[in-house]
Amino acid sequence: MSKASAVPLETALAPPAPRAARVRRIRWALWLPAIPVALAIVAALAAPWLAPASPTSGELAARLKPPAWQAAALAGRPLGTDLLGRDVLSRLIWGARVSLLIAVFATAIGAAVGSLVGLVSGYYRGGVDRVITKLIDIQLAFPFVLLAIAVIAVAGPSIPVLVVVLAIGAWVGHARIVRGLVLSLRERDYVQAALALGAGTRRVMFRHLLPEILSVIVVLATFDVGRIIILESTLSFLGLGVQPPTPSWGSDLRDAAAYVRQAWWTATFPGIAIMIVVLGLNLMGDALRDLLDPRTRRETR
């Protein structure tokens, strides 16, 4: 579990192809999936102006009305209403804000903490490294969902707690991979040269190592955001996710899942939102990896 890998597998490279054509192909692979992600981000930022109605207030009598293209639809509710009569579209837009906020913050914290820990652990090795790897292994062995439940049970299911819990789930992956990367990079000639020339630890870490691992971190983080959006919905399934009346894709999907037969729009739209955003993020991650891979850049050194 805690072995050094030469280069982390997440950054394995495709066989070489003509550079210009490859870059062009990668550009497409990056911009296309970025569209749904960008849409989600726009929705998240512009929610108060974009949403046609209130996401938290509804008319009970107008509940479970279908989307605009069906017969019994309600005017002004293009995607229908949910089980409390609230506008599905507005909840979708505001839900983007909540789901992305949680995922981005949790990823950012997890990536920052994890990378730092991995950096320190891989660089200093020895006792520090052994302790840190043990900690990582202990947490990895612990079923995360149960850990999440235990923490949320203590601290209550508020958004800050959710962010922290999800960050806890995220840091380990970063730590392990960064550690592995640092362990191997440390041995490279230019690092050894810098050390021999008397460069301080901080300088070596931040000027020589960090730029290399930054691309890896970015790729990992992209995948993490998607993973965490899914985790949030899993926690909502257990009743531990975002609390009412705050909309989030995960909890809306959970609440609507039972209505999938008689009111398919209540579940389908949050479900699609989750899927295409996570899809977009994963494809972007793939493209970024191809683009930013250290091997490519090393070839031009």
């Binding site: 072995k3 043990k134 990895l140 149960l146 439940i149 203590v154 899927m275 994963n282």
Partner: protein, 305 residues
């Protein structure tokens, strides 16, 4: 090799201890089981009496020591709720979870490996795109959503398979698919990536130059090298699999440890949670131990680390 083995075993034990301590602390912090067991009109005295009966009135460190002492002997105390030995309860359920986890694993491997190989070999063509689309979609679907969709479509609408519960092999299919999809998706992608990496390396070009058939190149040389990271992934993903098992077991009414552990956390049934988490963690660690040993056998460089 022996020293490697010994080191790994010690590591395992240490991790087990860490997990158990973590559980102990987390649970004690999170609430009082006596309060959850009695109906709402219990008096303060009744609560105190129940706490005494459950042994919760002793100081924390004494509880910890007593707990460790008996845990080593396999005694996790009696479930607060069920009045049965906690360890026994967990062991009763373990086969169900393992059955589900392995079914999911096998299903995932059987689907993902060929998909990944195909995608790598036909890189950039339709097969690649299709395979990878399936993979990313699979990774983008929450477990419970997939479970519900499968029940709705396959079980209710099409009537092909039972909706839930454990029974014959038909009951295993839907939960295994639900649980295994995420893993299959990441496995497919990883297989493709690592196979591509290997295919680009020198010794493969050499083998091709020597005139070996393409099939032989792939199967004998490339795959063996690509196997290493794949095996590692299997070991790691087992943990996520166990996590996904919690949701899957709940939806499909599968009588496994995941479901028991979640229920027990919700009612603060400490002994069962402790036993359950430890058993799950040990399974995970044991599997990874196996993977490490395999890894050590496959790649001598690792042993000397």
């Amino acid at each position: 090799m022996f020293r490697y083995l010994v080191r790994k075993v010690f590591h395992t034990l240490f991790v087990a201890l860490g997990v158990v301590t973590l559980v102990f602390v987390a649970l004690r912090l999170s609430g009082d089981p006596a309060a959850t067991m009695l109906p709402g009109d219990a008096t303060v005295d009744e609560l105190a009496a129940l706490r005494r009966t459950l042994g919760l009135d002793r100081p924390l460190h004494l509880q910890y020591v007593a707990f460790l002492g008996s845990a080593v002997r396999g005694d996790f105390g009696e479930s607060f709720r069920h009045q049965q030995p906690a360890f026994g309860l967990v062991l009763e359920r373990l086969p169900a979870t393992l059955e589900l986890a392995f079914a999911a694993l096998v299903l995932a491997i059987v689907v993902a490996l060929p998909l990944g190989i195909l995608a790598a070999v036909y890189r950039g063509r339709v097969a690649d795109v299709l395979a990878m689309s399936f993979a990313v979609v699979g990774q983008a679907t929450p477990y419970f959503w997939m479970g519900i969709m499968l029940i709705l479509v396959v079980s209710v609408e099409l009537g092909w398979l039972p909706t839930s519960g454990r029974g014959g092999w038909q009951h295993l299919i839907l939960p295994a698919v639900t649980l295994g999809t995420h893993f299959a998706a990441s496995l497919a992608r990883l297989t493709r990536t690592s196979l591509l990496e290997v295919l680009g390396q020198n010794f493969v070009t050499t083998a091709r130059a020597k005139g070996l058939a393409e099939g032989s190149v792939i199967l004998r040389h490339a795959l063996k090298n690509a196997a290493v990271p794949v095996v590692t992934l299997i070991g790691l993903q087992f943990g996520t699999l166990l996590g996904g098992a919690v949701v899957t077991e709940t939806i499909f009414a599968w009588p496994g440890v995941g479901r028991l552990a979640v229920q027990s956390i919700f009612v603060r049934d400490y002994p069962v949670v402790q036993a359950g988490v430890l058993v799950l963690a040990l399974s995970f660690v044991a599997l990874n131990l196996l993977v490490d040993l395999l890894y050590g056998a496959l790649d001598p460089r690792i042993r000397d680390e």
